[in-house]
Amino acid sequence: MIEYLVAIGLIIGIFAIFALGLNLEWGFTGLINFGHVGFLAIGAYTTVLLNQGGFPLWISMVAGVVLAGFFGMLVGIPTLKLKADYLAIVTIGFSEIVRLILLNEDWLTRGPMGLHGFDRPFEAVIPFDYNYFLFLFTFVSLAVIYILLEQLVHSPWGRVLKSIREDEDVASALGKNVFSYKIQVLILGSAIAGFAGALLAFDLQYINPRNFIPMETFYAWIIVVLGGSGNNKGIIVGAFMLQFFYSGTRFLQDFVPFDSTQMSSLRIMIIGLLLVVFMMYKPQGLLGKKEELGLGR
């Protein structure tokens, strides 16, 4: 039982970190990133490939995080001066190209076979069940990222982000370089996704392109929309809710006349429906502040 809870807790922690990156982009700044999973993939594959190439694990992880952030910048350059839609379109395309490269460049990524056999942090020196340690490592990372983000969004820098979200013309009229702020946010959010990718690789011990399908992005979206856009505490709650929904519906499997494919499509339909209903009637989510978020006014 405890092993099961730890395994579920790990997924919750990793997805909470992943969604915190998206929350910085969408929740605080109003940037629509539909390709968040691409940065998760870059983080995971860079960490694993460099480590397998003989680099120490921590250097590989840093490289994964930096590379994810770098690609965030590349995606931002052609799109962030234009309307919000363009970022959404280009990111969704970008993440799909990343997945296609992982799938087809066998010489580098072993394609659909995926990669396994790589170091995990302190695995050699942990005397007890490694999953317990990874659980601790994930939640300490989550706490650190959470605290740093909270400080950032409550700093003058963070207040500029919120003003961009509410009305970017006002922000630029006040002399703020809106484009530069948006690029910084996309770099930081993507880097956080890259870090989550490294953790995901440690948790799975085996990564392949199927771990990085577009739907992963929308798991992060439902976490952010449910928990409350622009509310980091809500993200943690949202990550728990998504996992409860998942595990809960898995228990239901025995009692419904649907096969597992139907069950998983039904789950995604419910997630889609929740996205629609929340954006229509409760865009601030369960925990967000309505008076703060200007959407739907």
């Binding site: 539909f34 839609d85 969704i92 577009p214 494919t261 499509s265 995604i268 889609g272 954006m279 006014r297």
Partner: protein, 287 residues
Amino acid sequence: MIMQLVVNGIVVGSIIALGAIGLTMVYGILNFANFSHADFMALGAYIAFLLNVTLGLNIILSFFISIVITGAIGVLLDFIVWKPMRKKKADLVSLIIISIGIALILRNGLIFFWGGGSRHYDLPVLKGTEMFGVIVTYNQVIAFGTALVFLLIVHYLLKYTRTGKAMRALSDDIDLARISGINVDKVIQWMWFVGIGLAGAAGVLYALETAIRPNMGWFLLLPMFAAVILGGIGNPYGAIVGGMIIGLSQEISTLFLPSEYKLGVSLAIMIVVLLYKPEGIFKGTKT
């Protein structure tokens, strides 16, 4: 070899063009990128499958009924979702997120009822004919011919009918259209009917050319957005030209790129346009 790719590109391009018309109209008039548009293509293909294979109707009849039903679902969604959001003067970014929610519901609804595998219409299998060393299949001729007829119908609708002219007026300036006495909501519903109906038509034609799959729309979404941006947002004629250019470049790219990376060609063209000419090659209404 290259002629074969050009032929394939023209066929796929005309299908992308047909789908992109609705996408660009929504983008021009309602001002948001509709991420569910491509999944209506798949929906149209499956409705035609239901009529043709499950109910045993003739394929031509199935095709037209499917267009009407798909278009009607588009109008229904306007009543349930888009119109209430217009009344609330909702932020455009929330509309984009709603549209991706609808996309997830549609795509997985198709998987729920029909599973993830490929299906085909009940059609006689006909061999392609060879002309000047280029193989043209019967289905390609049908797909291209039908797409061409529909494009001409759209041209007639937009140029010569009252509703079509009103649609173009809305795309230019919705408030100006309103004060000149156009019933905006009604024109918008017609726009959904035409745009989503055309998406359904494009879906059936694409299924003829390939196969019916729940994620078939997903692989056309990026090419369609590229066509719309290339042709100038809100400009249906631009979308048609853009669709042909995208279709041709995707096919011709397979000469020097693995065909798995076709989507990358759309993305690359789109990024170049965004960097150097974000308003598109023809006059779009908005950037």
